[in-house]
């Protein structure tokens, strides 16, 4: 009996959770995709890994000098 009650309440939780997820408001993919694309385009110029940086401005890309001790 107790076992049945436990699985009933677990199922109840699942049903509530699924109702919540089913009720989420969704937008269409073309619109969502267009917005993702727009974000990329708007920020592309700031993306150093995408467009590169002027020579000398990234300390990681400079050749490092070695000191011989």
């Amino acid at each position: 009996m107790a076992g049945d009650l436990a699985s009933a309440s677990a199922l109840q939780c699942l049903v509530e959770q699924l109702k919540l997820e089913a009720g989420v408001e969704r937008i269409k993919i073309p619109q969502a995709a267009a917005e993702l694309q727009q974000y990329c385009m708007q920020n592309a110029c700031k993306d150093a890994l995408l467009v590169g940086v002027p020579a000398g401005s990234n300390p990681l890309q400079e050749p490092r000098s070695c000191a011989l001790l």
Binding site: M1, I29, A33, Y39, L60
Partner: protein, 305 residues
């Protein structure tokens, strides 16, 4: 009594069928809006050119597999943790080790840099998350100043100083509302365990890397998967993913020792990076997006730009 038992069985059965019909309805709703994929929408976007990304620094010093790493907000310092039980703070420009802490356990699976840059958090098989304030005073023993901030019932696999509101558990990626503590969206399209999830820079989507050898992009407002990043030749799991600053590139570290760079919009691979001599276990783009760092089971970290 008999009638009570009958009633409970009916309730169970009706709940089960309601759950099934709701699951079916959810799939239907999601399918309704799926008339086109991201790469189709992005067809007119200019293709990316050749990428020249190289290892600019190799951080050597760990005695065993590197399990986790994080960048400091100063875009220069990196904290890494390893199976050797050590947590090291590096200056990525000079490759100098600035701090080293020996944890009381091996397998330090998680580490994070505080936004202030003044402390690091780490944890692993010791089941807790410890915060160490960083000090340059050679007379101070860092280990003595440590504070335990959380006790878990099992090992710590990830920690972060900001609200981490996503979790990959098994094949499901779940999005949680931190205020209500509820799961608001769940995605289950991967065919195997998800190892890593990361938000798209705008916050409207997230990427996941999985043992099924694919990375996928999920849009939160469309409530579905919008892209899959995969190739027949890639058969090993993706352990770790991160976006470039604009979200156009997705860097993914794999168990076949490589890092694949994907064009997020077009779905194609733009570059494959070799260098590590064992599985790539962790990968993060620097805070200003000028470089990214990968950690590996080959005991090293590499900074790429």
């Amino acid at each position: 009594m008999a009638t009570e038992a009958l009633h409970e069985n009916e309730t169970l059965a009706s709940l089960k069928s309601e759950a099934e019909s709701l699951k079916g309805k959810l799939e239907e709703e999601r399918a309704k809006l799926h008339d086109v994929e991201l790469h189709q929408v992005a067809e007119r976007v200019e293709a990316l050119g050749q990428f020249v990304m190289k290892t600019r620094r190799t951080l050597k010093g760990h005695g065993n597999k590197v399990l986790c790493m994080d960048w400091c907000k100063d875009k220069r310092r990196i904290v890494s943790s390893s199976q050797d039980g050590k947590v090291i703070v590096w200056d990525s420009f000079t490759t100098n080790k600035e701090h080293a802490v020996t944890m009381p356990c091996t397998w330090v699976m998680a580490c994070a840099y505080a936004p202030s840059g003044c402390a690091i958090a780490c944890g692993g098989l010791d089941n807790k998350c410890s915060v160490y304030p960083l000090t340059f005073d050679k007379n101070e023993n860092m280990a003595a100043k440590k504070k335990s901030v959380a006790m878990h019932t099992n090992y710590l696999s990830a920690c972060s100083f900001t609200n981490s509101d996503m979790q990959g558990c098994d094949k499901k990626a779940m999005v949680w509302d931190m205020r209500s503590g509820q799961c608001v969206q769940a995605f289950e399209t991967h065919e195997s365990d998800i190892n890593s999830v990361r938000y798209y820079p705008s916050g409207d989507a997230f990427a996941s890397g999985s043992d099924d050898a694919t990375c996928r992009l999920y849009d939160l407002r469309a409530d579905r998967e919008v892209a899959i990043y995969s190739k027949e030749s890639i058969i090993f799991g993706a352990s770790s993913v991160d976006f470039s600053l604009s979200g156009r590139l997705l860097f993914a570290g794999y168990n076949d020792y490589t890092i694949n760079v994907w064009d997020v919009l077009k779905g194609s691979r733009v570059s494959i990076l070799f260098g590590h001599e064992n599985r790539v276990s962790t990968l993060r783009v620097s805070p200003d997006g000028t470089a990214f760092c990968s950690g590996s089971w080959d005991h090293t970290l590499r900074v790429w730009a």
